[in-house]
Every structure is written in C-alpha cells, then in structure tokens.
C-alpha cells in the first residue's frame, strides 16, 4: 500500500448504503482535513441524501454544482442523474454520460477519474452493495499507487460489491465499519 499521506477520499456504496454511511460519516470531526467524495446508487429523482447527512454530520455536506472546487473538510455527494468526476486541477466535473453498469452516478467513473488526479494520495473505500460497480475503479486506484479498503463482505449488508473489489485489488484490506471509520479518522485528523 501507498506510503504517501492521504490527500482525498472516495467512497462508493449501493444497497444498504445509508446505514453503512451513517456508521462512518457522522463520526468525522468538523475540522477533518480531507475532502470526501461519495457515490451512492439511488433511484432517480431528488435523493435527499445531502439533506439527510447534513443533519447528521459535523463536516459540511454538499451536492456540488459543476466545476466546484474541492475543499478539505467537505463531503460531496454525486447528484442523482450525473456522474461525478475529479478534474486534474482539483475541481469537480459532472457529466450526463450514459449510465455505467446501469448506474448514474457510477462508482467506477468517480474512482477512475480521482485515481488519475490524486494518484498515490487517494484512498478509495467500497462499501455494501449488490452489484460490481467500484471493482474496476478500485483496481485503477491501486494501479496509480493509491490504497483501497472495503467493507468486510462477511458482515456487509450486501457482500457482492466489496467482494468484487477485493477480488480485483491485491493490496486491499477488508475492515468492519468501525475499523473503517477509525482508519478514516486517523488519516484525516489535524
């Protein structure tokens, strides 16, 4: 795994996402030093995810507009109906491209673009889900020298997604939600 300090975090989650994210994100402090970008598969129409997590989290929770600059201490949720990508200069780019593996937003699309932009400084986390989105993206993160963690498939609400990522990433570690949040807190505490 990468020895570089973490510069940014990307998280992907599908079936069971709200519960899993609720075990992690609210534990992060308001002065958390990293930006976090999250893709959750949701049925179309306004997701309400931003409102939900803004109420629970100390960090700022944002549904970004296109070309918004990524700031430390903020959590960005991909807007429903758009892919969320990271531009090399550190801004967010949205796209209305076709769904990937039936999903828009897609976890792979976020992970691959973030891997290109952040390289070894990227930490990718694949949580519960019943499809294989995120596996390809997680592999791209590893290839660029970043690190990958997955929710332990044995205890995840839906095991397919973390298991698929694990199978593609030789250095990835599977952790419980508790251990994942501890890891995150350590990576981004000032």
């Amino acid at each position: 795994m990468s020895a570089e300090p973490v510069a940014a975090v990307v998280i992907g989650a599908s079936a069971g996402a709200v519960q899993a994210l609720s075990d992690i994100l609210p534990r992060l402090p308001a002065d958390y030093s990293l930006p976090i970008m999250v893709v959750v598969h949701v049925p179309t129409a306004p997701s309400g995810l931003t409102t939900l997590f803004a109420a629970k989290c100390a960090m700022a929770v944002v549904e970004p507009d296109d070309k918004e600059m990524i700031a430390p201490g903020s959590i960005y949720f991909a807007p429903p109906g758009y892919h969320l990508l990271v531009e090399p200069g550190g801004s967010i780019a949205l796209s209305a491209d076709e769904p990937v593996l039936y999903s828009r937003p897609s976890i792979d699309v976020l992970f691959e673009s973030a891997a290109d932009s952040f390289g070894p400084g990227l930490l990718g986390i694949v949580l519960t889900g019943a499809n294989e989105d995120g596996a390809r993206g997680a592999a791209a993160i590893e290839q660029r020298g970043g690190r990958v963690l997955v929710e332990d498939p044995a205890t995840a609400y839906a095991a397919t997604m973390p298991a698929a990522a694990l199978a593609r990433c030789s250095a990835a570690r599977a952790l419980s939600l508790d251990a994942l949040s501890d890891y995150l807190i350590r990576a981004g505490s000032r």
Partner: protein, 278 residues
Amino acid sequence: MSHTPAEPVEDIEIKLLLEALYLRYHFDFRHYAKASIKRRLRQARDQLGFATFSAMQEKLLHSEAMVGTLLDYLTVQVSEMFRDPGYFKAMRERVLPHLRTYPSLKIWIAGCSHGEEVYSFAIMLLEEGLLDRTMIYATDINPGALEIARSGVYPLDRIAAFTRNHQQAGGKTSLADHYTTAYGRAVFDKKLRAQVVFSDHSLVTDEVFTECQLVSCRNVMIYFDRPLQDRAVGLFRDSLTRRGFLGLGSKETLRFSEHAGAFTDFVREEKIYQRSEA
C-alpha cells in the same frame, strides 16, 4: 539539472490526438473537461480496437471516415423531452409571461442533441399560443445528431418517459396530440418545426449569429473547462437582448463564471438567469 516528473504518456497522447483532430478537421475539443474526455477516449480506443491513442491518431489523420466515429464518442447524446420538468414549468410560468410582451421572439437552443429539448420548447410555445411568432435556432456540432433532430422521430419506448415529464412540466395538451406512430417510432408533427432552424454551430469556435430573448443551453458546458465555459457564456451574453433569459442544466451555474456580473438569478432553483442592464 532539475527534474520535474514527466507527464503520463497517455496524457501526452491525448493532447496530440485532440490537436490532430483540430488541425485536420477543425473540431476543437482541446479545452473540454479533461477527466470526462479521457474517459470517453479510453472507451473509443478500447471499443475500436486500438492499442494506443497514437495508433488512433494515425488513423484519424489519414482516414476521414474516422472523424464521425470519433465525434460520436466525444459528444454525449443523452437527452429527454422535458428533461427536468421543473425547468420547463418555470419557463412556462415565469419566463413566458415576459416573452409574451414581444411582438416576435427568437430562442436559441445551443447543444440541441437529437432535438428533444427543441420539440419540448415548440410544444410548450404552441400550448401557450406563442409558436407562430417565435423563431427557434437549434444548434449542435454533431451532424448526425442534427439530422435526427431535424427528423423529429424517436423510438416509441422513449415516449412513456417523455409523456410523464410533459405532464409534470405543466403540459396543457396530451403529448400524443403531437406525434403519430409508425413502425415502432413516434413521428413528431412537422408543424412543430416550421419555425425551427437547425444548424451546425460550435460554442468553441464559432461566433454569435443572432440576437435573441432566450438562450437554453443545458448539459453542454459541463463538458467544457472553466475558460471555455467563459467563452460560451460570453457568446450568450452578447446574443441576448437587454433583460433576456439564459437557462442552464440543473447542476450548472454562473457562480464561477467571469461573466457572472452580467446576469442576475431569475429562477434560482432552476438555473434560469436574466441578463442585467448593461
């Protein structure tokens, strides 16, 4: 000697490929948002069976047939009629009452893709009794897309979603009043496009061509980098009459634009802006 880390080879190849596309065919994608263009180019490379972007570049330079193929990868033709119904509802309820006061109207729909947005506006204007005195300029850089837009023919399986959106957008007629079906396709009424001019126009390389009261440019500028967005918004500003309107996609904003000062929020939630008095 100082040593700066080399740019990844793939990035160099992409730059060269886009330069070739520009120099040879005058399609300018050099300032599109990088992450998304890289993704689409990788897709093209893999699906077309090229080992590298350099191999693709050679083919592109020497075979004109390749341009159209590449253009279809580089431009995203994803649209819907009355996409984001709230936008069209706001247009109907908040913007059209102002436009109604003009004896004749010009509307520019930039990046019209297969025409879904054009027919949506035409139907709404017809319902509001304004179509007769409106000229619609529908522009895009993809010739294939413009051709489909001009034909007004869509697969029937898209109609259910279009109909739902139309109702949610406050439609006053039934969508079915505006098309006939044949061979699994919906053919939209010719009268809807009697006042539409479809034409090839690039927000990157072309200039302002008309004065209009409303510009709708949705989900096109998300593919541009910020300086290029500024160029496009500059065109819209110069094209709009005093107090004219500009509508963007639901996640697009003028907040970061160097021309932000030339516009004020009109319907903030729907990203509809008004040109301020100069």
